[in-house]
Symmetry: C2
Subunit: 128 residues, 2 copies
DNA sequence: TTCATTGCAAAGTTTTTGCATCTTT
DNA sequence: AAAGATGCAAAAACTTTGCAATGAA
């Protein structure tokens, strides 16, 4: 069990577990629905507060999609990127990073790089 | 003068020009401020409606940043990506695409790719 | 018992919509 | 004159906050 904030509560534990057990990033709406299956009365505010606390604690991270929707996933140990299916709308993790990128040539002079995030679009295997 | 919708209006022309003349993507707030400098009474709703119409018309495109903010820029003829400076917060266009990416190896089996969007973070030349 | 956390409802934010009025054609 | 576009304000959608009640330690 993970400690978030000062006290261990059933609500936080449930929300934490749902994210850790998911193989894909989830929206707030997803989390509310899934959490309420495990315990009827979980307020939206609790989900928002817990998600923000988990981000603060670096347990999870936000994935911002074009269009504006935010998804949340476990803070991965390994660098990875995302793929959104244009057909079913699901967002998948793509482990690793494409090989052979020549960033030196790509960046303007005197720009330095600390991070990057790639988002890919297309059709997933399920929808193919 | 560009035609958006059925009629040419001063408001649409102003908003269109601001985006076309900018070398960086702009937020809705940026657009409202800049537009009101050229003509006092431009309602926010008009900016939103015009931006949506311009996107629909493929004249401009949205750039979604992590954290949730959306920026708008001219629909480029050439494929490009974005760089956000962690220091000043400005978003820059990076023309072109990094060379030598091996996407075949990167995508899972039976996933097909139609588009991609890269976002880079770091320090820009101005802030270096 | 104490005080962090919760649920609910109220208050913020941001974006969209309804409608009377104004403008383009 | 007809109909699209505007500005304003109301509404909708999403997130945060205040507060009394609950529950973990």
């Amino acid at each position: 069990m993970v400690k978030i904030g000062q006290r261990q509560t059933r609500q936080r534990s449930i929300i934490h577990d749902i994210i850790m057990e998911s193989d894909r990033p989830l929206t707030i709406a997803n989390l509310v629905t899934l959490a309420q299956k495990r315990q009827a009365k979980i307020g939206q505010a609790t989900v928002y507060r817990t998600v923000n606390a988990l981000i603060e604690a670096k347990e999870i991270q936000a994935v911002q999609m074009p269009g504006g929707e935010a998804l949340y996933e476990k803070a991965h140990l390994h660098h990875h990127h995302h793929f959104k299916c244009n057909n079913c709308g699901k967002v998948y993790d793509l482990p690793g990073c494409p090989d052979g990128i020549d960033l030196k040539k790509f960046l303007p002079p005197r720009f330095s790089l600390t991070a990057h995030e790639f988002t890919f679009y297309g059709t997933c295997a399920e929808c193919a």
